[in-house]
Each structure stands twice: as structure tokens, then as C-alpha cells.
Symmetry: C5
Subunit: 353 residues, 5 copies
């Protein structure tokens, strides 16, 4: 199966707006977590039906509904209807191969983004699609699996020390995106450290090194594909004039925009670095081959003439005058020493020794 | 014959607006399929003359006329006249080497696009030109061959469950283009899976692998050439203010625009991937050569001095004192063992072993 | 002499507007051909003086004057004066190393373009500068040699079947440019077919192939240099609001613009293809070297130890017990067979066999 | 640890605006230096509390406060509060991994820039973050360590000969940035001289050379990453219409803008040069390998046949007629001389000698 | 010393506007040449003080003052003061490492450009900075050395045949810049001819060729760095609305703009050509190595087995039945011939022969 484009045969021929889950199911059953907060209070719950979720949203707090697990498309369809979300957007939420993007609807802002995690031993990138729908008093997040990605934000809401409780869902959306981009940079730092580490090994020119470097390059391409469009999200978020976005939030969005730029520059720098490493590796392999060849050539060109001389006097001709000359054997050793010295001088001059 | 540019010697010297079919005839005889629909009813027919087609269009339904086979240029000229299509556009319909594009005429919208299919065994790309003319109550499609490309759309029209029956020919045009781009992504997914699969073989550095990879690169260039201008189609479609385009359709067009972008990014990513694979292959070949050379050098440099020593004592000089010294032969074995050990140590140090 | 920039030592120190012919004289004597036409009639003549040309232009028809041969700068200076053409433009007409461009003067439009032809056997590109001056009722063309480049246009004027006779000199200018771009595509198709053909040979990695490919790359660079600025011509032509350009002509110019784009994309695609071929060729050479080396290594590493063993028992020591052991010789053959088998197994494992 | 992205695990999960120092502490204790000046007088002091600093600023002079050492985040938080600096900006000051940027606040201009120094022996780049806050009558600078970077500016203030004393803090900010960019060019000149010097060694193709060149490339990437965004600073500085910036300063800023451009072009040129050197090095290694191989081939192909002939007449067959033919040995020497001559001729023709 | 960036240690710490000469002094003493002209008359002189120069300018002619030699910074400072030139501009005139640029001051236009000359034998580029200050009735030029660069312009002024005498200093400035760009193209033609000539040698793959090509690449980078910003000069000149520029001059400036574009395209084309040549050279080296290896392999693999066979029958075992079989020796020759034939067939099949 291709990794850069997911298999879409299931969606073939479906009308636009059909809800078909694409991707691997990463969780056994869908879970719903709701957090409701205002400047004064925080409530958490786990409602199990669309009606109960609807009820939470209606009670005056700011409500954040987190849905983990996207395979239950029917549930998502009902939820979408309850919140008046357009079918085209619902389709994108469950089709987990979407490009990151920001779109402004009449009642909502809609964000599709990617979260990724670089695994520890083998530096493999795990990608997950995160969809966010921002309404006037609520925010819905859709994740493929139930994880601790947004726990820091929850903690900040619960503790209530920071400004998050006094802002609206637009700031919550910013906080979630900020958490994502922060995690991009953390994970890039991890991958980058590995790349810089690997770079020190390229002069040894071992086969494993090149495999690692190539692996890093593929992973970086994969990250780049999914992170690059994030810049469009922040740009459009900054330029949207929806009443949902409070003017106080713009300062934070500009900060986020800068962070995204930094993440992207890091990706480009590591990508260039990896390309350079591959190029350098190749140079080193050539260099090594050259060394090997020199050793072969030096040994061969010294001993081949000597062996030839020995071969001559190993011949069995009846009439070979040198054979009967008493000091001949010792003279021969002398000749051989001379030949060897000449060859060594020759290599010295060529700077091979 | 060149594949990236079709032979145009037939059009040489022809005045602009002359109808000359360029390309291979892919179908024995032209076929015409008409589908007429409104919110309530669907009619299908296969009229065999321009007058009958004209009659269909006049009866109050939305009428989709599909012409398969473009070699009968005279028929297309008459049809064009009946629908008031400019000769320059008719010329482009039969000249199947046109760049994809969108143009807005007084009475029509005109789209030229490409459909392609990646064949199964050998991953060859088959390209076909699709032309669409959108009028106020009708839509004409021109294909090079009669195939099932748009059957899913026909099915949706027949079944009438989705919104297609309640929208105009502008939405039908969108639906057809959406089907094309969906098929781009499906076929790219197929090609991409093959490319990613091939990528796993590059460390073996076998000749067949490089042939395959080069083939993929050529096919991707071919796809890119024909898909890249599609972005201009969606952009111009979105920006055109023809009365033919209903404002409700824009949401769908924006979705299509995003899909095209995704297809293009996929092409670029696979193109880069294939370039990297070629580069990596080359590195691996160098690496293998290096290994081969090491084996040769180790063997040669160990045995060449030994053979020389053996050669020395194979000489037939009358006076060679060592020959008559009883333990000489065994001492020689010792010397040879020492030389070998020294060489092995040398290679060990150089990390060749 | 440089081909990409012509020798300009002759113009050194000359004041701007000096008429100095640069390039090779391609024709023995200058020829002038005049075609005059209106909706009803066509007249052809070959006047030999500036006055006669002036007279032709004055008689109410649309007049196309074609001058072949630019070395007679004095004639061109007089002609320029008669038609009120600025000296800077005349300078550019005879300096055949100009960049293609479109400029709008008070009384004229002025176009400099390049025509090229790919020769048959050796695929060499011959470039020629074409200058066009479009006035209100006349059009002047300047060519370096007298050839059949525009004969198709003349034929269409004579036959009078197409719209050319009812349009003005702006359409004639379009028709000439269209003929040029058509010939670009035809010649690119020719070169492209040769390139694609050559591409099939790269896996054989023969020296001739790389020479051919490199030749194609140079020719493509040369074409690109001269064709790339053509896009500016069509863009400026489309944007100029000179009274000389009839609004009916714009539709045709837009078509031409698209054709130029197609020619440029073809150049880029073939350029990339040739670059890929060179890269691929290099990979194949490395691959072949690897194969050669494997053969050498296999033979050497099998026979070198065997030869050493044979050398041992060719020594003449008085005391070598094995020599007198009767089955020793046959045992030795056995040992050698074992060594060979071991080596073959070793190569089998390394996948060199 | 990655060098291109600093480890941010400490900031993980922190709310935006939290002050967390990132980077290595480069100084034992924070130092504060204050210089106050007007057209007539200069005062210098080293206040040790926020209140004293506040007091300095209030006394009618232009006050420049330089803080060296950023690990004392609490002090910076208090200072920030005293000067009404937004927490997001304070966060960026202590997080020393920020992209260079210019931002305009209600009361301040805020600049983040990088200073770097190329070390002498090993050409390693040391990067330091410099933050500047420009208020109406004061300017704050934040450095990671206490160094002589801005001593030239201090000297000019003390001497009072130049225009610096009669301008405001906006000009002081320009002077500091100008000092930074001047030092960029000085350090690039140093690195560039080393690169150009190394370039002369590439034809010797020694392993150390490639290591050096690769080192230079990495350092240049690192510089580029930190200098490239500087252009945005000057552009935004020029376009800001804050009352803090006096119109007289714009001429100087335009000059600075040009200097930044020159620094960036120098980086690009050296980057290209280093890439070319790597490429050229690789070509030279191949060239050397080719030479080594030629020597091996010439020696081997001359002596291998000769040794074979000697081997033939070393055989012990009872019946070998040549052995008993008296002049055979001398004839054999002749044959060998002929073979050698033939081989030499062959190599001569191949231009290997 | 770095060539791409001149050593600026002398300017370190200097205030903006300080006049410090950077570069090599190319002339023993400064010379001043003044030419004064109007439609009717021409006067030439060589005043030796700022006052005399000032006096020349005041007398109603158009006055062109040419200063050669920039090391006398004090003189330039006084001259600048006399003509009201800003210190920042004077600083740039004597700092000969400036980027080419055009700036518009209240009383002057100011141009910094580069002149270069490709030396004959070794194709080294000599660069010189030319500064021009255009006032209402005068023009100042600053050169590093006293040469014949502008003699053609002087000649045209003296002869008075062309339009130069009837135009103002703006046209003179254009004429000087035109002379510079003409010389760019002439020198590029020279370098280009050498590059194209060198290109014919790359298939021989000799070490000198690659050195030459690399030299050309460096020189082209150097030219590019100094010529590329010239386009900004013509663009800004065309867009400036200073009263100093007469509207009649714009036609000429547009022509110049085109010439600059041609020079830049030539640089890019030759740069690409040189890069291709390096790449091609590398391919040819690999190809040659392959040929060398084939010769080695063919010889070795034929003779190594034969030598082994000869070795076998050179052994001294008491019991070797073949030795006593009378026709054995001749049979052996047959076997050897067979082995050789088999090997040759093998190589034939592999297409190595």
C-alpha cells in the first residue's frame, strides 16, 4: 500500500458529500470527551449520544467536544447534522487523507491539520488527522485515536491559572494548533538530532549509514507533505473576519504563524542536510574505492614483475647459462630489490604512499 | 514517434480553425449517448444524427450528449455549427494534443482535460483527451473512445438520490471533472504503491530495478505534463462569472480545487521520490563495487607475495643454499603464515574485514 | 566562435542606432517580394527600389513586403526612413543576435522573433532572425535568407478561402507568428522523437549514446534561449492597445499564446528528459563497471590460491615429504576442487553469481 | 543534541507567554550596563535592580540599557513589566531559538536578531541571540553573554564626534543592527577566504579536504538559517510608521537594507561555491581512480602473458621438444620482448601512456 | 584573501559615512579629466583641484568630470562636499566592494556599476567599480584606474556627429552604461567562445580540461554576482521621475534594459553549460574507467587459468602420470587454446569485445 496517498478505492464513484472512512482504524471504539468551562467553573463529562452532546453545548459554557475514532461514520453524520456542519466537511473529516486546510463557513470555522510523532527506536513517523470545528460557543475536535495529545491544554483549562478560561473557542482553537506546532518542533528536534548524529558517520561510508539517511529523507518528505500546508491555515485564520474570532486572539495567531514558519524552515534545512549527506556519502564511497584500488595496485605492480623473474629461472631449458653461474642467485635478489625500490619510488612520486 | 508531443505534420500549413484529427483512432465507429434529466425524470437515447441531437436538447430537460470517437471530423463540424461552437474550439477538440484549459465563450464554457489510466502489469500511462462544452441547458462531452469513465455519474443521475438531478449542467460539469480528478488520485495511488515497493529493492542494486524506476520517472513526467495545467481549469472556473454557473456550485468547485492540489502534490512527491531512488541506486552501485574490489584486493594482496616466494624456490639455479637446508621447507611455511597474518592484520586495521 | 552569443566586435564603440550587420550572410543578394491583397483581389510583385515599394504600399490594398537578406544595411536604412521606422529598431533588425521581443511604436508594432529548423541527419539547430514591422495598411518582414517559411501563408492569401483576406495586417502578423510557433512544435516533435529514441539505448551505456544525448541537450538550450522570450511577445501583443490591432484578432492571439505555452512546456520536458538520460547513463556505466569487476574478482580469487598451491609443489627443496607420497598429486586435485567449491559458494552467497 | 533546532522539551505544555530560558547559559551572572546620552553629555552606570534602571530611563536623556545573561528569567519578567513589554515578547527574548524578526507594538519596536562569530582555528560558527526593544526615549538590548560586540558603538557615543548623539533611540537601534551586519560580512569574508583557499586543494583530492568542505557547507547552512530572515527586519523597519522612527533615519535604514542584501548574496555565492567544490572533488576522485587503474592494468596486462610463457617452460613433461633446442631460451627472450612492445603500442594508441 | 568579498577589517567600527578606501590601489596617482560640451563646442581639460573642477561645471556647458584613482579619500570628500553629495554615497564610492545600484537623491542620480574584462591567456576576470553621479548640468564618474573604457564615448562627443551633444547628462549616463553593458556582452562572448571550445574536449576526459572548466565556472559566478544587480539599475532608472531625466532618454533606456537582459541570459546559459560540462566530464571519466577495467579483466581472466594449468605441470610430485604420457604436452596446448576460445566467446557475448 502506498503511504503518501491512501487507498481510495472505497470512495470511487461515490457522490461528493458521501461519508466513507479512509485509513486504518486505530481504536476499538469511539470515545467522546466533553469539557465545559467558563471563567469560574469547569465541568467534564463523557456523553454517549448526540443528543447529550447537544445538551452540553446548550448550557452557557464554552464546550469542547473531543471525538476519538472516526470509523463510526453514521455517528459522525448525526453529530454533523446536529451542529449544522456541511456534508462536504464531514466527508473530509472521515477521509483521513485530506490536505491540511482552513475554511470559513457561515456558522463555523473548520480546520484540518495533521499531528505526527517520531517513534523512538526506528524514527518512523506516525501521522494522524485532526479536524477542528469552531462554533460560536463550542469547539469539536475529531481524532483518529484516543491519546494524550491535548492533555496539556485540558490541564491548563482545569487549573484556570492562564488566560485560556477567559477567552472563547477561537483561543481554544489557537491553543490546540499551538500544541500541534509545538509538537512538530519537538519531534523535528528529535529527528534532527538523529540526522546530525548520523552525519558524523558518513566518512566511514558504511552501508547501514546510507540506509538510515535514506530513511530519514523519506520520513522528512512525509512530514513536509503534511506540514507545509499548515502555513495556509495560519494565514487564512489571520485573514478571516468571522465574528467567531475575537480581535484579542490575533496577537497569538501571529505568534503561531511565526512558529509554523520556524517548523517549515527546520524541515527544509534538515531536508537539505540529508541530501548533502547522501551526496557526501557517495563521495566517500568513491574515495574508499580509490584507497582499496591503490593498495591492490601497489601490491600487484611490485610483485607481478618479481614473480615473472622468478618464473623465468624456473624454466627447464637445457641451455640457460645464468643457472650455472655461481653468484647468479644472489645477484637476482639484488635485481629484485632494485626493481622493488624503483616501484616504491614511483608510487612515492605519485603520492600513493 | 514522440510521445510527449504528437506528430502534427498533418496540420502543417492549415489555417487556424481547420478541423484535423491528430492522434490514434481508438474506436472503430463514433457513438453518441444522450441522457436527459430533470428533478423528476430521466431519459436515455442514442441519436445518430445532428438533427436528432439538436431535438433532444430542445425539449426542456438538462441534456448531456456524449460523443465517443473524434476521427469523424465532418460530423463534429456539423455538431459544432448546430451548437454555435467557434471553429477554434472545434479544432482543439479534434487535435488531441492540446494543453488542458478552461475558456469562457459567449454561449458556452469550454473545458479541455485529460483522463489517464495506469495499466496493471507494466504501469504504462494511457492518456485520453476529454473535451466538455457547457451550455445553458446542455452539456457536450467528447472522448476519444467509448469507455466506462463516466458510468458512475450516469448511475447517480439514473438513481436520482443525490443532488445531481436538481442542479444544472454546471454541476454536471463539476461532477465529471471531479470524477476525472478522483481517477487521477486513484491511479497515482496505484503508481505510487509500485514506486514505494520498488524503493525497497534499491539496496540490492539490481539492473532491473533501475529500469523500473526510470520507467516510473518517465510516466510521472508524462502525467505531470497533462495534469499540471488542471489547476488553471479550476481556478478559472471559480473566477468565471458566466450566468451558466450557479452560485451553489462554487462550494463544490472549491472542493475540487483542493483535490487537484492534492493530486499535484502527490505527483511532485512521487517525482522527488523517484529522483531520490535513482540517486540512491547509484550510491548503492558504488558501494557494491567497493565491496567487490575489497574482496579482490584482499585475495590478491595475500596470495601474490606468497606465490612470489614459492616462485623463488622453484628456480633452477645450481647454487641456491636454502634448497639443501633440511628444515627450510617447513621454515618457509612458517614465513608464509607470518606474511598472511600480517596482511590480515593490515586489512583488519583498515576495517576491510 | 561562440554560438550562444554572436561576435559583436564590429559594433564596439558604435553609437546607439548605428546599422551594423551581425551574423553570417546567408544569401548572395537581397530579394524583395511584395504581395498586395484586399477581400477581392491579390497582386504580387518584386520591386527593386525603396520608391517602388513605397508606391505599392500607397495603393489601398493591404501590402506585405518581405525582405530577404540583411547585409545590405544601406538599403534597410533607406527603407526604414521611408516607413518612418526608428533607427534603434533598424539597428535591431540587422543585428541578428537580438532577444525576441514585441514593441509598440507610435506608427508601428515591431516584432523580433526567431525561426529555427532541426536538420535531418545530425539534428543540428539552424536559427534565423525574423523581424516584422506592422503598420496601418502594410506589414514588412525581414529575413536573413530567402526561403519557403511563409509560403503556406502566401498560399492562403492567394486562394482567399480563409478569413485572412478580410482581416488587416495585425491578423497577417498573427498568421506569420502562428506559422513560426507551429514550426517550433513540428521541429520539437522531430527532436523529441530522436531524444525518446536515444533514451531506449541508455541501458547499453555506449559512448556514442552519451555524445548524442549531450548534443541534444546543447541544441535544446539553444532553442530554449531563443524561444523562451516568445511568451513575452504574445503577452505584450495581447495587452497592447494600438489602433493597428483589431479586436477580432485577440481571440486568435489568445490561441497563439496557448500554443507558445505548449511549445515552451515541450522544451522544458525534453530538457528534463535529457538531463535524466545523462544521469541514468552514468548510473548504467557504474553498473557495467560493477559487472566487469565481478567477473575479474571471481576469476582472480578462484585461481590465485590454486596457482599458489601449484607454486608450492613446484619448489625445489631437497626435503619436501609430500612430493614422495604416492597419492599426493591426486589428493592435491581434491583439495583444489574443494577450494574452488568453497569460493563458488562464497560468491553464490554474495549473490555475485 | 540537534544544533539547528534547540531542545525545547522544557517548554512543552507551557502556556504561551511563559518565560523559559532555552539554550546554554554562557555567563555566570547577569550584568547590566547603562549608557545615557544627549547632545551635550554622556553618563555610564551599572544599576543592579529594576527600579534603578527605571530611574535612569526617567531622567531626560536617551538611555541604552544592555542586559547580558538571560537565565535569570525572573529578573527579565520584572524588567518587562516595568517597561510594559508584552509577555509573548519576553518569552521570545529568553527562548534563544527564535527566528530573527521585527515587530511593532503600541509602545515599542521589537527586534530579534542573531550575532555570529567564526572561530579562528576550526571555523566553527558561534551563534548568539540579540533582542532589542526600542521605546520613545530608551533602548533595551538583551544578549546571552557579556562581550565587546557593541563597544564600537559605545565608543562613538562617548566621543560624540559623529551624529549618533544627536539622533534618537531609532538611530541607535540602526547603529546596533549595522554593527551586527558589518560583523556578518567580516565573518563571512573570513569563512570565504578559507573556502576559496580550500578550493585550491580539491584537485589533489585528499580526504581531509572533503571533510573541511563539508564542514564549511554545514556552517554556511547554519549561518544562512539565522541571517536570511534579517532582510525581513530591514524591510519591516523601513515600512513601519511608528512615531518612534524619525524620518531622518530612513536613509540609513536603506543603506542597511543594501548591506543585508550583500551579506545574503555572499552567503548564497559561498554556498554554491562549496557545492561546486564537493562536486568537483568527486570528479577528481574518479579521475584519480582512473589513473590508479591504468597503472594496474598496464603492469598486469604486460606481465601476465609473460609469466604465463615462463610457466609453460617450467613444466616438467618428459617430452617437451623446445626445452632441448639450444637457442630456445634466447628466442624466448625475443618473443617476450615482442609481446611487451606490442602491449606498449596498444596502450600508446589508447592514450594510456 | 577572499575574492568574492573584499577584506573590510579597515572599516570595522567606523561610523556610517566614514570614507575608507577598500580594495587594491590600481593606479599611482589620481587623475582628473574634464570634458565640456554643448551642441556647438567641446572643451577638454585636466584641472588639479576641486575649485577648478567646480569652476568648469559652472560655465554653462554640460560637464563630464572623470576621476581615476580612489585611494585619495580626502580629495573625494572635498569634491563630494563641493557637489553636495551625501557622505553615505561617498562612502560607497570608495568602498569598492559595493553591490551595483541606482539611487535617486534630491539633487543627483547616483549609479554604482561594475566594469569587467576577461584577460586573454588565462581568462581571468578583472573587476572594477564605476560610480556615476548625475547632476542637472554635470556628470561625475569615479574609476579605480585610468583606462580607455570610455574613450569611444569621448570620441563621439568630440566628433559631434551623433545625438550625444544635443542631449543632457542623463543621456551621457545612459551612453556610459550602454558602453559598460556592451563590454559585458563582448567579454562574455570571449569567455563563451572559450567555454564552447573547451566543451569539445570533454569526451577525452583529461585532467586539464576539468581544471579549465572549473575555472570558467568560478569566473562566471564572479561575473554573475557583479552583473546580476544591473537589471535593478535599468529598472529604477526607467521608473525614476527625476527632473534630471529627459523623457527622450527613456527609449534608449528601454533598449539598454533589453541589452542587460541579454547579458544576464548569456551568463545563465553559460553557467548551465559549464555545469553540464562538469557533469558530462564525470560521466566520461566513469566511461574511461570502465574501458580500462575491461582490458584488465579480459587479459587477467584469459591468462590466469592458463598460468594455473602451467603451474600444475610444473609441480615436482614423484607420481604425476600425465608427465610421462608422450603427447601430453601437445594435448595441453590444445586444452589451453580451447579455454582461451571459450573465454573470448564469453566476452563476445557480454559485448566487451
Amino acid at each position: 500500500m502506498a503511504r503518501f496517498l491512501k487507498d481510495r478505492t472505497k470512495t470511487q464513484g461515490a457522490a461528493p458529500g458521501s461519508l466513507i472512512f479512509i485509513g486504518q482504524q486505530k481504536i476499538a471504539r469511539r470515545t467522546v470527551r466533553v469539557i465545559q468551562y467558563s471563567t469560574d467553573s469547569v465541568k467534564e463529562s463523557a456523553p454517549d449520544s448526540v443528543d447529550k452532546i447537544r445538551a452540553c453545548v446548550a448550557d452557557g459554557h464554552i464546550t469542547w467536544v473531543n471525538i476519538a475514532g472516526l470509523h463510526d461514520t453514521e455517528f459522525i453524520a448525526r453529530l454533523g447534522k446536529a451542529f449544522n456542519v456541511s456534508p462536504l466537511i464531514l466527508e473530509d473529516i472521515v477521509n483521513t487523507d485530506q490536505r491540511p486546510r482552513f475554511s470559513e463557513e457561515t456558522e463555523h470555522l473548520h480546520v484540518i491539520a495533521k499531528a505526527f510523532r517520531v517513534s523512538d527506536g526506528d524514527y518512523k513517523v506516525q501521522m494522524e488527522q485532526i479536524s477542528i470545528i469552531v462554533g460560536e460557543h463550542y469547539l469539536l475536535t475529531f481524532q483518529e485515536s484516543d491519546n494524550d495529545r491535548f492533555d496539556d491544554v485540558r490541564k491548563r483549562i482545569r487549573e484556570g491559572k492562564t488566560r485560556i478560561r477567559s477567552f472563547g473557542p477561537d483561543y481554544l482553537c489557537y491553543a490546540l494548533l499551538d500544541t500541534l506546532v509545538d509538537s512538530y518542533i519537538l519531534n523535528l528536534e528529535k529527528l534532527g538530532a538523529a540526522i546530525e548524529e548520523e552525519g558524523k558517520k558518513i566518512f566511514a561510508a558504511e552501508t547501514n549509514t546510507i540506509k538510515e539517511i535514506y530513511h530519514f529523507k523519506t520520513e522528512l518528505s512525509y512530514i513536509r507533505k503534511n506540514v507545509r500546508p499548515f502555513k495556509e491555515i495560519t494565514t487564512r485564520f489571520l485573514n478571516c473576519d468571522s465574528p467567531i474570532v475575537n480581535s484579542r486572539t490575533y496577537t497569538y495567531l501571529r505568534d503561531l504563524d511565526d512558529l509554523v514558519l520556524q517548523a517549515q524552515e527546520a524541515i527544509e534545512i534538515y531536508y537539505t542536510m540529508v541530501s548533502d549527506q547522501i551526496n557526501m556519502f557517495q563521495t566517500n564511497v568513491s574515495n574508499k574505492s580509490n584507497d582499496v584500488m591503490k593498495v591492490l595496485t601497489i601490491f600487484s605492480t611490485i610483485f607481478i614483475p618479481l614473480t615473472f623473474i622468478a618464473g623465468i629461472y624456473g624454466m627447464n631449458f637445457d641451455h640457460m647459462p645464468e643457472l650455472h653461474y655461481r653468484p647468479a642467485y644472489f645477484i637476482l635478489w639484488g635485481v629484485m630489490a632494485l626493481v622493488t625500490a624503483a616501484m616504491l619510488l614511483f608510487f612515492k612520486r605519485k603520492k600513493w604512499l
